[in-house]
Subunit: 339 residues, 2 copies
DNA sequence: TTGAAAGCGCTAACAC
DNA sequence: GTGTTAGCGCTTTCAA
């Protein structure tokens, strides 16, 4: 089957291919009659624009690169869901790349995006990412760049995040208001800004309510379910005194709950538990897990909208807008001592 | 900043741009010395290949379109995760499109893929999709097309699915072997092939183990958690006699469990429960939910591998390979009467 | 082993 | 309102 180009349509109608091109692009200078004839012929010949040729010539691909750590994480797949919906409705397509939390793959992704001449890049960095030269490169090439959730602190670019500090604060505040006094916090041992912020919120909430910060109650590790269990086991072994746990993630909180239940500790009467992320299982487990919602879907839509705003008005580039969404406290049974 | 092309590299070195192109593509006829010089210069000038130009000329984009109903559904995001991983490792990139279960958007997605001259399309159809003209068009244009999970029955193309019939059979068989005799099955009232298959598996398992099919035990509705609850409420109201439930989805099964627990019915002693899909919450709820795993990740990887196989050997196109994955029975507490 | 030259299908400046 | 023309940056055939 021969490939149909605008030249074929032009020959059919005895006009030139540039007229055809203009007609198809709804150029104002073309007569209605010609437009109709061209469209009818295009339809009949089963013509389909070649976006590659169009992109090469015009310098616009209408594709934006979206880089995420992993679609296995519900949060990221929801953000991508939101981004794709909005961008798609605005004539953009999504080139997807996963870093799998590897710096090397993240660099490859950026490289691919650059070679593919995407019209913009929306990214959330991997946990491994410390150097940011590959992002600097994007800026140098004047390709619009936005971050969401996990952002490199050294860069002054538009972003959408949630206020992790506030999330940490309201989670801790909630526990305090429920009457808990010795609140254990599990955080990540790596220097990841979102986790550091949650920790900072935790500490400020304690101070704000005149509780003192006890370094023994700050446990550094990772956010796996297994680590949550381990923390409780070790706390028991060492005789650590605590009456609530604020875990950096729901999975960690889940491990905490499982181990507490195994030790026949009553939740929330003896120990209160709150997680972070509002994973879908939280409302289904027993007891239900209190948590902080991160507004994944909103974040996806907002970052897409911010992108569209950015390219419409690039005078904004000197003052990159940094949207910070409010985390939402979700109180369920695991921390609801007062009922 | 001026854009660097192979012409710039050529000028730097006093050779022609076609030699540069060959050097960069590791053409065998180019001397090692030239290759090294070219690469060094490319690096120094910060050259980056323009994939758009390359695609236009070569007719290959190294992009494949992936069309899914919605990334909000964990199953699909896991499949995409698997596809992206494998394709990425093989030099392909993913153009992502969501149909949101709408036929119109599905058509738009296919149209975009065709215009973008993707090297292949991997799709899972929307629940609305009945006509398939838009897929016929892909085949006509000789663009490789593969389906996974939800496939149009009228088309003879490569696909990867799981055996839903077998899933229904082994779920039911498991309940029977645990000693349950009056097994209630919740299915969808719409004619969706995967659900019909699960129902067929359920019925055949009953027959195979000499239990008779009782139409009163087959409840038609939807797979929401709320419907699961409703079924148990109505069963109680009508005095329906049953000792196990096989629900078409985990969320439905969850509703069933919640309502049973509310009625103080012991799970699994009095009533056994099994779901379908292996949602992440299944292992975290109390009691743990038995289920059928759909191998989402494997499905993604397999469909990607099948795609690669297909394009390597297009003689296969006359006998499209249709891979059917085995569902996996996951026994947890909710159905484990015998321990 | 390298160079010359054509052209992929389109957009857009300029001409009439 | 439509035609002419020149590329976008690369791959690839043919020639030397």
């Amino acid at each position: 089957m021969k490939k149909i180009t605008i030249l074929d349509i032009a020959k059919e109608l005895g006009i030139t291919f540039s007229t055809v091109a203009r007609a198809l692009n709804d150029h104002p200078a073309i007569s209605a009659k010609t437009k109709i004839a061209v469209r009818e012929t295009a339809e009949r010949l089963n013509y389909r624009q070649n976006k590659i040729a169009s992109s090469l010539r015009s310098g616009k691909s209408n594709v934006i690169g979206v880089l995420v750590p992993s679609l296995q994480v519900t949060f990221f797949s929801l953000v991508v869901y939101g981004i794709e919906q909005v961008m798609n409705a605005n004539g953009y397509n999504i080139l997807l790349y996963q870093s799998n939390e590897k710096l090397e793959q993240e660099k490859n992704g950026i490289e691919t995006f650059l070679q593919s001449r995407v019209d913009g890049i929306i990214a959330s960095i991997s946990t491994e990412t410390t150097e940011i030269a590959h992002y600097q490169e994007i800026i140098t090439r004047k390709t619009p760049l936005l971050f969401f959730d996990r952002i490199p602190t050294q860069l002054n670019v538009p972003s959408v995040t949630i206020d992790d500090y506030k999330g940490g604060f309201i989670a801790t505040e909630h526990l305090i208001k429920q009457g808990y006094k010795r609140i254990l916090h599990i955080t990540d041992e790596q220097d990841i800004s979102i986790f550091k912020e949650r920790l900072r919120g935790y500490m400020d909430a304690l101070l704000h309510y005149n509780l003192k910060i006890d370094e023994n109650l700050i446990i550094r590790g990772n956010f796996s379910l297994a680590f949550g269990k381990q923390v409780i086991q070790e706390a028991k072994a060492s005789g650590l005194n605590f009456d609530a746990v604020f875990a950096l993630e729901d999975f960690t909180a889940m491990g905490v709950m499982q181990q507490l239940l195994e030790y026949k500790v009553n939740i929330p009467e003896e120990v209160g538990v709150i997680g972070f992320a509002n994973e879908s299982f939280g409302s289904l487990v027993t007891p239900n897990l209190s948590t902080i919602d991160q507004q994944a879907l909103t974040m996806g839509r907002e970052v897409a909208k911010l992108f569209l705003k950015q390219i419409k008005d690039d005078s904004l580039e000197d003052h990159p807008e940094q949207i910070v969404l409010d985390p939402i406290l979700i109180v369920r049974n695991s921390s609801n001592k007062k009922g």
